[in-house]
Structures are given as structure tokens and as C-alpha cells.
């Protein structure tokens, strides 16, 4: 019994080896034949709900690339670690990926605090991180490529849309209490005031992570919206708190025709746990929706659903960001002819790859990418219907022009500047006001 078990195992391993198309003569020889790619997403804990999907999409992209013959004639090998939604653990796992596993690049992180926690590690060990989530900006780092949206690629166009299309004059900025919503709301508040919105027409509200009792806040929003001016809610509420928030909106009868809610952290994945019939018409701003009708997207969805083995699984914006980021990295490595960090970082700038919305996204000198901005309305089937999109691609403003202290900063990682926070007023690198 035992013997056949071992034999079976050996057979399996052999079959796997043949399938992967590599000949395993010795383990160290094999290590030289693959290029390792690190995946740093939480597979347990609070963030597992969002990040597990990103781990899966990376595995799919790597598998697809290997089917095409790998990279530089070598096969790619995914190294998955679980930082368990624990921010300091992100730094430890990143260190392990870079120094022990010797990966060529890392794709990972979701929350801003996890990104901030790994930044010093990537800087010290000189490696590359691809960060796929929309974030608050105010950062540009040599070792990081930001494939999610900066505030001007998501928040500002959404507010513009509400002003122009829905005639909104009164604003509720509701968010979860941490760095991304606080910075985004600071930018939005400054932006709204620059557009002539009065102080008393802005209500700002923060709630803890995982807040589940929204009765008071939704009723406050209702009464704030009854002042006679058209009111909208700009929501930077993150993660699990969204479902009870939308449930309460639906139950208290706040319909999108009265008070529309535009969300920056609610995508197809979050809606999957909800009955969206009472939410029809509420909005979200992203750079990608699953409902976008392009051949690239149809192909991507088909591959994804086949890979995951579930034809009901949805796709979302951060998945597209990884798709773009991974293809950019592949292209840059091919261009540089090596996976050496410095060469790849240099080769990345200017690389352009197709995105899933029918255009090309390019890596800019500020290590952010160009993206179209789409505004979608929630439909009864849990998908979004795109009601508005930018005419072309938006270039990211990593340093917001609406904030004191960041107004004069630019990031340009090309030679000779090579600086993430160059102050154009003082002419020095290192930010500083």
C-alpha cells in the first residue's frame, strides 16, 4: 500500500515535470532555469476577501505566460506567501521573498498601510513591487510601480460627473477611518471648495473598519440631503463595511434617484455578496468594469473563468491592474534582456501594453500608468453599466495639485532627475516645504 503510494507520487511528479516542459535533473539546475515571481497577497484574515482573488489572477497570468514559452526562454515560477492581513508581517514576507526566494519582482499588497510597511524593504534590498490598487497618491518610489489609480484617475472625475450630470451641490464624504479615505477626502474637500462649494454643504464622516451598524449615519445622510439642494454621497468606505452600508441604504429607502452614492472601493467582487436590486443606479468610479465590451476583456474573462473553474466568478479593477502590470513587466524584461532590478526599472518607463478597455496603458516617468476613467451604475444583476467615460487616457497626478505641500512636487525617475518628490520651487529633491 505504502509502496504504491510513493510510486504514484513519483509518477505524478514526473508527469508534472513533463507538463511544465522542464527536465528536472538536479534541483539547483532547475532553480537557474526559472524566473521567480513573488506574490504577496493576504490569503487569510480580514483582507483575504479581496486579496485571494489577486493571488489567483497572478497564478493565471504566470501560467498563460508559460504556455507562450515563458520569458527569456525560461519558465516563470510563482512563489506565493501569506502575509495574513498583518501589516508588519507584510514586511517580513517581502524580505523572505526577496532575500531567501530571490524573486525577480513582487506583485502584491492591497491596503496603503501594507504598502507603506514593505516600502523600506524594497528600497533596502533593491527589488520591484507592482501595486495594483487605487490609492491616495502622495507617493512615488523608485522600486514601486503603481498600476492602480491615483485620485485624479478616479475620485476627481467622479465628482465632476456628479456635478455636471446630476447637478449635485451638497456632498457627503463618507469613509473608513484610515489613510486612503482621509487623504482622498482632503483632496476632494479642497477640490470642491475650489469649485465654490460652501463649508456647510460638505459633510465628512468616518467610521471604523468593519463598521456594521449604519442606522444613524444613513439617517443623517437622509436629513443632510433634505435641505433642498441635490445631494450625493462620495464613499471611500472600504472592505466588509460596504455590505451593511448598502443594505441599510436599501432598507431605509435611499434610492439612487434621490441621493446617489458613488463609491471608490466597491467593485464586482464586493457586490457579489449582495442583492443589488435596491441599489440600481448607485455609482462606482473605476478604470475597468467587467461589463466593458471589448475583445480583450471577453478573452480575459473567459481565461479567468476557465482557470478558476467557475463560470460565475467576476472580474474587477485591481485584477485588470495586475494584468497590465504583469504584461508591462514581461515587456520590460524582454526589452532589458535580463531580470536585473536596475535594468528593468530603467526599461519600465515608456512601456505600453493593451489594457482591457480597448486602449493602451503606458508606464509614465512617475511610475504610475495612464488609464481611462469609467463611471458605472449598479445594475440589478450585480454588474455595472458604464454611463460615462473620459475621452482619452488620464495621466496620474501622484502629487495632488489641490493639497498644500504637494502642489509643487513632481516625480520623474528618468535620468538625470531620478527623484520621486522633486520640488520645482526650490529645485531640490526630497520634497520639503
Amino acid at each position: 500500500m505504502m509502496k504504491t503510494g510513493i510510486k504514484g507520487l513519483a509518477g505524478l511528479a514526473m508527469a508534472a515535470g513533463l507538463m511544465a516542459g522542464t527536465v528536472m535533473s538536479a534541483s539547483d539546475a532547475r532553480a537557474q532555469e526559472t524566473i521567480k515571481v513573488g506574490i504577496l497577497h493576504s490569503l487569510s484574515g480580514t483582507m483575504a476577501i479581496s486579496e485571494t482573488t489577486l493571488k489567483d489572477v497572478m497564478l493565471m497570468l504566470i501560467e498563460e505566460q508559460n504556455k507562450k514559452g515563458g520569458l527569456l526562454g525560461k519558465q516563470l515560477e510563482a512563489v506565493v506567501v501569506d502575509p495574513a492581513s498583518d501589516w508588519p508581517l507584510f514586511a517580513e514576507r517581502a524580505r523572505e521573498l526577496i532575500s531567501v526566494q530571490e524573486v525577480s519582482a513582487v506583485f502584491g499588497c492591497w491596503t496603503s498601510v501594507s504598502r507603506k510597511s514593505v516600502l523600506p524593504v524594497f528600497e533596502e534590498l533593491n527589488s520591484i513591487l507592482f501595486y495594483p490598487v487605487q490609492y491616495e497618491g502622495e507617493e512615488s518610489q523608485r522600486n514601486v510601480f503603481y498600476t492602480g489609480a491615483a485620485p485624479n484617475q478616479q475620485a476627481i472625475p467622479a465628482v465632476d460627473y456628479l456635478m455636471a450630470e446630476e447637478g449635485v451641490e451638497r456632498w457627503v464624504l463618507a469613509g473608513t477611518d484610515y489613510v486612503y479615505p482621509r487623504t482622498t477626502n482632503r483632496i476632494l474637500e479642497a477640490y470642491l471648495k475650489s469649485k465654490g462649494v460652501a463649508d456647510e454643504d460638505i459633510m465628512i464622516n468616518y467610521t471604523p473598519f468593519g463598521h456594521s451598524d449604519w442606522q444613524t449615519i444613513v439617517s443623517d445622510i437622509k436629513s443632510f440631503g433634505s435641505a433642498g439642494k441635490k445631494t450625493a454621497v462620495v464613499s471611500t468606505i472600504n472592505g466588509d463595511a460596504n455590505v451593511p452600508f448598502y443594505l441599510e441604504l436599501g432598507n431605509q429607502g435611499v434610492s439612487a434617484t434621490d441621493i446617489p452614492v458613488v463609491a471608490f472601493s466597491v467593485g464586482e467582487e464586493e457586490l457579489a455578496g449582495l442583492d443589488t436590486a435596491p441599489l440600481v443606479g448607485h455609482l462606482a468610479a473605476w478604470n475597468y468594469f467587467m461589463s466593458v465590451d471589448t475583445p480583450e476583456n471577453a478573452q480575459f474573462i473567459e481565461t479567468w473563468q476557465a482557470f478558476i473553474g467557475d463560470e460565475n466568478r467576476v472580474t474587477n479593477d485591481p485584477m485588470e491592474a495586475h494584468y497590465i502590470g504583469f504584461n508591462m513587466w514581461v515587456k520590460a524584461v524582454e526589452k532589458a534582456g535580463t531580470t536585473d532590478t536596475d535594468a528593468v526599472i530603467e526599461a519600465m518607463i515608456g512601456v505600453a501594453v493593451p489594457n482591457l478597455t480597448g486602449g493602451y496603458s503606458a508606464m509614465m516617468p512617475n511610475h504610475h500608468i495612464t488609464k481611462p476613467v469609467l463611471i458605472g451604475e449598479i445594475q440589478a444583476d450585480g454588474q455595472f453599466d458604464v454611463v460615462w467615460e473620459t475621452a482619452g487616457l488620464e495621466v496620474a497626478q501622484e502629487w495632488s495639485p489641490y493639497l498644500e505641500g504637494s502642489r509643487d512636487l513632481i516625480a520623474d525617475w528618468r535620468k538625470p532627475l531620478e527623484c520621486g518628490n522633486f520640488n520645482v520651487k526650490t529645485g531640490t529633491c526630497g520634497g520639503g516645504s
Binding site: 485571494t52 477611518d177 468616518y206 449615519i217 437622509k222 436629513s223 443594505l247 432598507n251
Partner: protein, 540 residues
């Protein structure tokens, strides 16, 4: 008819005829306004669609209400090739928009007309006007409410007719209020009518009335502005009282959620003294049981869907209770009297259970549907509460009373109390203490499971569900006094109400912190909580 007033009269008559012809659907030859209006829907832009709604309402065509209603539901379709428009009525039959005749076209050849919020608002306004005369009182009432909300001056003549015809007092009141909201900002209307309108709105006295009263333009006569301002002030005063009542209602609702989450713990921790960190996971397992029950019902007996939660309650009790008994027999019974080890073991267990659920069901949220009787909200004296919350309050109190009865009126309850008060003496009286321990722990876990059923209606069904409630649960049990069920009830309710009264002033984050500090200070002063147990049992 004399010649003297002829020309003027004729002009009025002509205008009236035009107006009627717009309402009464003319079958004009040549360029047909109905076809024109319908063709707009195939225009592709939201502006076209909105113009189409207005044009179609103006024609007063017999299918106008059905077509516009279908548009609001996303059931208006058009053919790309010739811009012919079709709609799917409430009966699900595809019909030709112009004639209302059923059509046998394949839906695949059609595209649906896209809708955004602006178009939806136009649909609401139009439907209000089109269904004001509907024979169905419910439709008339919702039409009256829609007209009140849309405040479209164009619907004034229609509203007057509707008021004259309306026989149901409740609908009539809304219609009169809707008319008042329209007339108030209208500078062409006579002053006394506008003043009367302000009074009507003041009598309505809710937030919507306040919105309407604020629409008085700044250049309106002094008298009217004063009337509107005083009406707004009256309503605002009333609203502050209502706000307090509303916050207390929200607090009771939050308190009952806390009670549900904590009441199982009141048994395992309060009565048995086991620090059970996996309590939240029992709640989570109850929620997942509800999900599974609903999936089964959806697949095999869709007709029973409204009863799915009722079926889930005993299922969740059995599943969570059985797991609880297994935990007690397998782990906790070896650790009695060693609180630190119990804490660590159950903490580890909670992580294992979370990850197990994550592996089986996946990390994403699961959707648990709401039965139709729990959707929507009720309003009493201006204090609104959603029906799902009302159900949870009632459910929590029922569970509490049942538990009280079990502990104080049954043989098991007597044995439980005997064992927890003096284990050795209970044992020597012939009570099988091990069995009682297992059953008590099972009871506590089972109750946590049914709390999970209720929580599916207000929270995420995800592997992390339980984590959010474990700290609050311990807080409630300790604050109420370990071992006292009544204490748990009072503590849950007072924490809930205090939280909701603080929230409007301090915000959700700070409110929670203040409350935590207050409870900690209270425990410093009275370590045994609100309802401290007295007597020798405490020393044991």
C-alpha cells in the same frame, strides 16, 4: 356666444383644444408625433431618451404609461436596423411599442434602451403624471408621492383634476400636499393660495415638507417668506425631538444585536466560566448554515423562500450546538480551571474554524437573501425603523425569554445551575456533571448559531463575521455581570442606546472609544458588573 368676446374666446378655445389634443392622443396624419417620440428611444444617448419621455407623455398615447414604465425597469428594447421600439410588460410578453400588440421577435435581435439616474428621475416624474388617474389605489398613492417628490410645475393641471376626482382620503391628502409643494414657489399663483400651501406643508411636518418649504424663492412676498420660515422652524423643532426618539430606537436595535451576539456567551462564559474565544465563530457558522439552507431551498423548493430563515433557525442551532458539544468534549473539558490555556486553545480554534470555512466556501462574501416580509421600513410618529431591524429586536427578546425559561423552569436548567454553583455536590447528588457541561456548552453555542441567522440580515456573511462581535460580546457580558442573564439584557440595551446617543455628537469612531472608557471605569468601580452575583457561589 356673442361676437364681442369672440377673438379672445376663440384663442383660448384653440389653446385648450391643443392642450386636449396633446392629452387625448390625436391620430394626426403626416409626421406622427408618436413615432417621432418612440424613435427618440433608439437614439442612443441619455439626452435622446429623456426627450423621448417628454415627447411621449405629450402625445398621451395609450401605451405611453406601459412604455415608460418598461423603460424604468430596463425592459424597453429597440431594433438597431430600423429603430423600431418594443417593450416587455409586467407579464413578460414582448410587445410592439406603438400598438401594444404582442410581437414574436427573438429578443436577441434587440438592444435595450440604456438608463441612468437622470432618465430614471424623468421616468418617475412621468409615471407620477400618467398613473394619477389609475383605478388601482396603490398605484395612485405611489403616483401622488412621486409627484410630490418630482415637484414638476407641468403636472399642476393634472393634479387639480386628480384632487377633484379622488375619493380615498389618504391619497387625497398626499395630492393636496403635492399641489401645495408645486404652488408654493410659483410666483404666478395668488398669495393667499401660496400661504395656504405653506400651511398644508407645515401640517405634513416631515423632512420632505421642509425641502418643499425651502423652495420659496428669496424674492417672494415678505408675508409668505415669514410663513414658510416659521413653518420650517416648527418642523425643525419637532424634528429634534423625533431625532432623540429615533436615536433611542436605533440604540435598542443595536442593543438587540449585541444581546443576540452576547447571550450565547452569557451561558458559556457567564454560567460555565469558560473563556470561549471561538464564540464568534459559532455565530459565523450559524450564518453559513443559513446560507446553505437558502441555497438548498433555492434549488429544490423556491416557493419556501420566505420561510427560509425560519427553517434556518433550528438548523443553525443544531449545527452550531453539535460543533459546540464536540469542542467541549474534545478540548475544553481537559482545560477546566485553567483559564489561560482555555483562552489560547479557543483562540487557536477560532482561527482554525475561520480558515476551514474560508477553504470550503471561499473567501468572498456569500449572499443571503431577505424574505419579502423583512424588506422596507415602518414609520411610527416620525420615527423610522427598517423591518429587518424590527424583526431582530423581536427575535432577540424571544430568544432571551426562551433561555430564561430553559434555565429556570426545566430540569436541564436546574442541573446547569447546580453544577456551576457547586460541581462536587451536584455530582454527589447523582447529576452527571460531564454530560451537563457538554449540554450547556452546546446550548450556548447553539444560541450563538441562531444569532448568526439574524446577523445575515444586517452584516456580511464572510469568514470574518464572528471576529467583529467577540469583543463586544465579552464587553456586554462583563458589564452586565457574569452569570446574570438579566444583566446581559440590561447591559446590551444600555450600551446600544448610549452608543447611538453619542454617535451624532462624537462620531462613530470616537463614540465607541468614549463608551469603552466609560465601561472600563465602571468595571474598576464595580468589578462584578451591573448585576453582581451574591452569596457563596461567587467564591467557588
Amino acid at each position: 356666444m356673442t361676437n364681442g368676446c369672440g377673438p379672445k374666446f376663440m384663442r383660448i378655445l384653440r389653446m385648450a383644444l391643443i392642450a386636449i389634443s396633446f392629452i387625448a392622443a390625436p391620430a394626426a396624419a403626416g409626421a406622427d408625433p408618436i413615432d417621432d417620440a418612440l424613435a427618440r428611444f433608439a437614439g442612443g444617448s441619455f439626452d435622446d431618451t429623456q426627450a423621448g419621455i417628454e415627447a411621449l407623455v405629450a402625445t398621451g398615447h395609450e401605451t405611453a404609461a406601459d412604455v415608460i414604465g418598461a423603460l424604468g425597469e430596463g425592459n424597453l428594447l429597440f431594433r438597431q436596423t430600423d429603430r423600431a421600439v418594443f417593450y416587455r410588460g409586467p407579464d413578460g410578453v414582448l410587445r410592439e411599442a406603438r400598438s401594444g400588440e404582442p410581437s414574436d421577435l427573438a429578443p436577441a435581435t434587440l438592444q435595450s434602451v440604456r438608463v441612468n439616474n437622470r432618465v430614471r428621475r424623468a421616468v418617475q416624474g412621468a409615471m407620477g403624471g400618467l398613473t394619477l388617474m389609475s383605478p388601482d389605489p396603490a398605484r395612485r398613492l405611489s403616483a401622488a408621492n412621486a409627484t410630490f417628490r418630482s415637484r414638476d410645475p407641468a403636472s399642476l393641471p393634472l393634479l387639480e383634476t386628480a384632487i377633484a376626482q379622488e375619493s380615498v382620503p389618504r391619497i387625497r391628502t398626499v395630492l393636496v400636499e403635492a399641489r401645495a409643494a408645486l404652488i408654493l414657489p410659483l410666483s404666478a399663483a395668488p398669495l393667499e393660495e401660496r400661504l395656504a400651501a405653506a400651511e398644508v406643508l407645515a401640517a405634513r411636518g416631515d423632512q420632505a415638507a421642509m425641502v418643499a418649504l425651502r423652495s420659496v424663492p428669496t424674492d417672494a412676498p415678505e408675508e409668505l417668506r415669514a410663513a414658510a420660515d416659521s413653518a420650517i422652524a416648527t418642523i425643525e423643532r419637532r424634528q429634534t425631538y423625533i431625532a432623540v426618539g429615533q436615536n433611542i430606537a436605533f440604540g435598542i436595535s443595536l442593543g438587540s444585536v449585541l444581546l443576540l451576539a452576547a447571550i450565547g456567551l452569557a451561558i458559556t462564559f457567564g454560567v460555565m466560566g469558560v473563556i470561549n474565544m471561538a464564540h464568534g465563530e459559532m455565530v459565523m457558522i450559524g450564518a453559513y448554515t443559513t446560507y446553505v439552507v437558502q441555497q438548498v431551498i433555492r434549488a429544490y423548493a423556491p416557493g419556501l423562500f420566505d420561510a427560509s430563515l425560519l427553517i434556518a433557525i433550528p438548523s443553525a442551532f443544531i449545527v452550531a450546538g453539535a460543533i459546540g458539544i464536540a469542542i467541549e468534549r474534545g478540548i475544553i473539558r481537559w482545560l477546566y480551571g485553567r483559564p489561560l490555556e482555555t483562552l489560547l486553545a479557543t483562540w487557536g480554534l477560532s482561527l482554525v474554524l475561520q480558515q476551514a470555512v474560508r477553504s470550503i466556501f471561499g473567501p468572498t462574501n456569500k449572499q443571503v437573501g431577505t424574505p419579502s416580509f423583512m424588506q422596507g421600513s415602518v414609520e411610527i410618529f416620525g420615527i423610522g425603523m427598517t423591518l429587518n431591524r424590527v424583526s431582530i429586536v423581536l427575535f432577540a427578546l424571544t430568544v432571551f425569554i426562551l433561555l430564561l425559561v430553559i434555565l429556570h423552569r426545566t430540569a436541564l436548567g436546574l442541573q446547569v445551575r447546580a453544577v456551576t454553583q457547586n460541581r462536587r455536590m451536584a455530582g454527589s447528588m447523582g447529576i452527571r456533571t460531564g454530560r451537563v457541561d457538554a449540554l450547556t456548552f452546546g446550548l450556548g453555542s447553539g444560541i450563538a448559531g441562531i444569532a448568526g441567522v439574524a446577523l445575515t440580515q444586517i452584516d456580511n456573511v464572510s469568514p470574518n463575521l464572528g471576529q467583529g462581535y467577540i469583543i463586544d460580546s465579552f464587553l456586554v457580558v462583563v458589564f452586565g455581570g457574569v452569570g446574570s442573564l438579566w444583566g446581559t439584557l440590561i447591559a446590551a440595551m444600555s450600551i446600544g442606546v448610549a452608543n447611538k446617543l453619542l454617535e451624532p455628537y462624537a462620531g462613530a469612531v470616537l463614540g465607541k472609544i468614549i463608551l469603552l472608557v466609560v465601561v472600563i471605569l465602571f468595571i474598576q468601580k464595580r468589578p462584578r458588573g451591573l448585576f453582581a452575583q451574591k452569596g457563596r457561589a461567587v467564591e467557588a
